[in-house]
């Protein structure tokens, strides 16, 4: 009788076992309810607001630096306020067809006091729900590059490789966007203050998908400014997100520094309006997370061929005083000295919240391969406290004196700081 009794016990216990399955407790007796539709249109609701919304982001940061390579006039130790600012915006949406927006940065320095910088001011309307217009000062991103973006032709600011995700200030423009399925056709009127002559430029861009890649082609024409045509592509190869840009530019107003034996300083300047310059970049991003999700690593790498850069950078490294004189006389601007290597590269690697410790180590390298200068920055941030981020970082600049990333030659610095920020 023992075997049948065992079997009977087993059979009798099966429903009980089933009832004890923790998964079963998730499910009630009925799982389906009918949708009760309301007349509300959430798509329209998001575009309207009874009141003007004011918001922004406050941030303050301070730092203590140890600079063992300080020059005679500099201090080995320095400390103080890095940033005290608030980004403010004002957003008015009286109807779903009209919206006005203003955004600016209010900052304070103990030496110079309060400063306000207008970042954006524009209005949005649409034509028959088909063409979307934005008129005013606005950010216009064209590129897909991360550290370098030669195709980002319209914004007034260039991508900063050390802060690649920062918003870039744009021009005053009227943008008209026509979505066509997955494609987008966008036209721009780029405007300066009316003075004499033609102060309006034209630009257009078309975005479309090809075999899982987004491709963009565009062009810009301004009578007294550079013209350019560009193409970008982005997508993924396996688990790696990849991107590329190619740009042809002419009528460039960039001021080049040249060796000039007739000048007392040994250097002079020239523009190359008749030349056509090709620039291109290619890069990728990769995220890896272990199966237990305790370790997550993000890596980005990019190469940039800058057609507007210099093959021979000795004009800078051998003539520091002459360059300073050209800047002093207004013949050369700081912008003309940026991105001056023909071959450039950047890599960053970071591990977010490594091992669940709230610590984020990161390593960044930026190199001007043409003049042999570069920056290595290693940092450690702690993100375990809401709104407050302590940071420890080490920075190494290498290369010859006067080179792009080593104006004062090789240097090391160590800094400890914090930033406090929050949105409202």
């Amino acid at each position: 009788m023992r075997i049948p009794a065992l079997l009977m016990c087993l059979l009798l216990s099966l429903p009980a076992l089933a009832q004890n399955n923790p998964d079963d407790t998730i499910f009630g007796d009925t799982i389906v309810t009918d949708i009760e539709n309301s007349d509300a249109n959430p798509a329209k609701t998001l575009l309207e607001s009874d009141k003007v919304v004011i918001g922004g982001r406050f941030s303050v940061s301070a730092q203590v630096n140890l600079d063992p390579n300080a020059t005679k006039d500099g201090d080995v130790f320095s400390s103080g306020l890095i940033d005290l600012s608030t980004r403010l915006f004002l957003d008015a949406r009286p109807s779903s067809d009209f919206r006005a927006f203003v955004k600016g940065d209010l900052s304070y320095k103990t030496s110079t006091g309060v400063n306000f910088e207008l970042r954006e001011v524009f209005a949005d309307i649409d034509l028959y729900d088909t063409v979307f217009l934005r008129a005013g000062k606005q950010t216009i991103n064209w590129g897909v590059g991360f550290f370098f973006s030669p195709a980002n032709l319209i914004n007034l600011e260039r991508v900063n490789p050390e802060d690649p995700e920062a918003e870039l200030a744009g021009p005053v423009a009227v943008k008209a966007q026509l979505p066509i399925g997955t494609d987008n056709l966008t036209g721009y009127l780029l405007m300066s203050d009316i003075e004499s002559g033609i102060d309006i430029g034209l630009a257009s861009r078309y975005e479309f998908l090809v075999e899982g890649y987004e491709v963009t082609v565009g062009g810009i024409y301004q009578p007294d400014n550079p013209w350019a045509v560009m193409a970008t592509g982005s997508g993924s190869i396996g688990d790696v997100a990849v991107f590329a840009e190619a740009v042809l530019q002419g009528n460039s107003n960039k001021v080049f520094v040249i060796k000039d034996p007739d000048s007392p300083s040994g250097v002079g300047t020239e523009t190359r309006k008749d030349a056509v310059f090709f620039s291109g970049t290619v890069g990728g991003r990769y995220n890896f997370t272990t199966e237990d999700q305790l370790f997550s690593v993000s890596a980005s790498a990019q190469y940039f061929f800058n057609g507007l850069g210099y093959d021979d950078n000795s004009v800078f490294t051998g003539n520091r005083a002459g360059i300073a004189e050209l800047i002093g006389k207004g013949e050369l601007s700081i912008n003309d000295l940026r991105e001056r290597g023909k071959h450039n590269a950047a890599v960053s690697v970071s591990a977010n919240d490594i091992g669940g410790t709230d610590l984020t180590p990161s390593l960044f390298w930026l190199g001007n391969l043409s003049d042999g200068s570069g920056i290595v920055n290693a940092s450690l941030q702690y993100r375990g406290i809401d709104f407050l981020t302590p940071r420890l970082s080490y920075r190494f600049n290498y290369g010859p004196e006067g080179a792009e990333n080593s104006v004062n030659g090789i240097s090391h610095s160590l800094s400890v700081g914090f930033s406090l920020s929050g949105s409202f």
């Binding site: 075997i3 389906v32 539709n37 309301s38 955004k103 997955t182 982005s234 237990d292």
Partner: protein, 263 residues
């Protein structure tokens, strides 16, 4: 030496065992026959059809994440879907630090929008949604019949529901999980549970769909629980409220709309 009574008793026991085993065998055979007669690929197609709305769909989605390491958090997302055209748009409303970030899907294209840099980034459907246990693919139209083939099917129960338990193997490399085991109600072909496995058949997550909202012949899970199988006590619960099947304007599924709603 065994007595006659003992021999008789033993024979009766043996006969009982045979009867019980025969009964069990019969039940098993009937179950097997029932399972064998079932067209499991058809079940996947019905499941896909019922999960895919013929109408537009909008809802407010709340993601509550429980993470013993990163801490608990919550997000509110406004969702717009048009399954017939492979369109969706998710706009993050909370937390404030992510306000305006969005995911726009148009056919095979998926873009992430960052209002901080005002930049669209072309991304992938198989990536994690906002660092949660849900994937971008979880929110689009269901395509199980297209992406998987059924390798085995059996009957079972889950809670109070009779279900088909189907083991699936991916037919392409685009899917997030190469192997899955799913529990589908017999009555109306709704997905109740899914175990999602890696290529090495390691369990990565278990998903539960304990509640559905219905419109016509279409169903949408209005509660989803994604349990991380690799990190103990880590899970994401998604609930949908304010569900509406009202027509969504075409221009909502455009980059222009994402830029307009943002600050």
């Amino acid at each position: 030496m065994m007595s006659y009574q003992n021999i008789v008793k033993q024979n009766i026991v043996k006969q009982n065992i045979v009867k019980i085993l025969s009964g069990l065998g019969l039940i098993f055979s009937l179950t097997l026959a029932s399972a064998q007669n079932q067209d499991f690929e058809e079940i996947l197609k019905i499941l896909d059809n019922r999960s895919n709305f013929q109408t537009d769909l909008s809802a407010t989605m709340t993601l509550s994440r429980t993470d013993p390491e990163a801490g608990d958090d919550s997000r509110t997302v406004q969702m717009f879907r048009r399954d017939d055209d492979n369109l969706f748009l998710f706009l993050i409303e909370k937390p404030e630090t992510q306000l305006g970030q969005g995911y726009l899907r148009v056919n095979d294209g998926l873009w992430f929008y960052d209002p901080e840099s005002r930049q669209f980034t072309f991304t992938s459907l198989s990536e994690s949604f906002e660092g949660s246990d849900a994937r971008n693919r979880d929110f689009g139209a269901s395509s199980l019949a297209e992406d998987y083939r059924v390798t085995s099917g059996t009957e079972g129960t889950l809670g109070n529901f009779d279900v088909w338990i189907l083991e699936l193997e991916a037919t392409n490399s685009e899917v997030t999980y190469p192997f899955r085991k799913i529990w589908v109600t017999k009555e109306n072909s709704l997905l109740l549970k899914s175990e999602d496995y890696s290529l090495t058949k390691r369990l990565l997550r278990t998903s539960f769909f304990p509640s559905y909202a219905k419109s016509g012949e279409s169903f949408i899970a209005n509660k989803m629980i994604f349990v991380d199988a690799l990190v103990e006590n880590k899970s994401t619960t998604i609930t949908l409220t304010d569900i509406s099947t009202a027509t969504i304007p075409d221009n909502v599924f455009t980059k222009a709309y994402v830029e307009r709603v943002n600050r």
